[in-house]
Subunit: 144 residues, 2 copies
């Protein structure tokens, strides 16, 4: 009987490890996820600078993003017409209080130094809310 | 010994079920994922029609999207200025041959009927590749 119990325990441990290993990606828990799509203009003369910055984002900026429960964060470049560029961002928020996490990020001195480099490259879009830098977009479709 | 083997098999079955249960979300396997960001114009006079269509996408269209290894697919609406709208899409591709899967989707009669409703709402952007409807955008940043 002892051996059988051992085997069962080993089996369940194996199951737990597999499950845990799977969920370390942070993508398979049942927690709610809020998706965000945002847009901002990018100054044509700052295109190269912005791309270079984002090819090597500071590790502490990335850590703050993760600490603020943001994951699967992508930024795309839209070349609308000559000298007119936009940035589209998509990310997923897994925390419980988006505003509080964004306030935490905004209060981080490293993030502030990072934004001091990025913001001069950007140009907010016309039709945004008064308190927005990046403008939130409406989600018109989603499938899992 | 037979019972021990049974327990080990049961344990591993349990592990497999848990792992499989986790991975039915399609978000936690280790397979490579290709991310896509695309953009297209939306005719202002077709805004409501497009939103209504996408609030109730036909089940067989959604099934074909999944069959073609596309997941986590979102479309956002960007109101650039008066009477000027763009759609920004983000999705993840988990298959091995994107072109083959897109050809499969394009050959599907239901999808063709769906596109016959959607395409008149859309207006491809100026600076796209010759063979594009939705224009692919360059990813300038990503973090997990």
């Amino acid at each position: 009987m002892k051996n059988i119990h051992l085997a069962v325990v080993a089996g369940c441990f194996c199951a737990a490890m597999l499950l845990n290993g799977c969920c370390t990606t942070g993508k398979c828990n049942a927690a709610k996820v809020e998706r965000y799509g945002m847009v901002i203009g990018l100054k044509a003369e700052k295109l190269d600078e912005y791309k270079k910055l984002h090819a090597a984002v500071w590790p502490d900026v990335l850590k703050m993003i993760a600490d603020c429960h943001i994951r699967n964060y992508s930024i795309y470049l839209f070349h609308a017409r000559e000298n007119r560029y936009f940035l589209f961002s998509y990310f997923e928020y897994t925390g419980d209080n988006f505003k509080a996490d964004m306030d935490k990020m905004a209060a981080d001195p490293t993030t502030q130094r990072w934004w001091a480099l990025c913001k001069p490259c950007q140009e907010p879009v016309r039709l945004r809310q008064a308190d927005e830098w990046w403008a939130n977009m409406e989600e018109v479709f989603h499938c899992e």
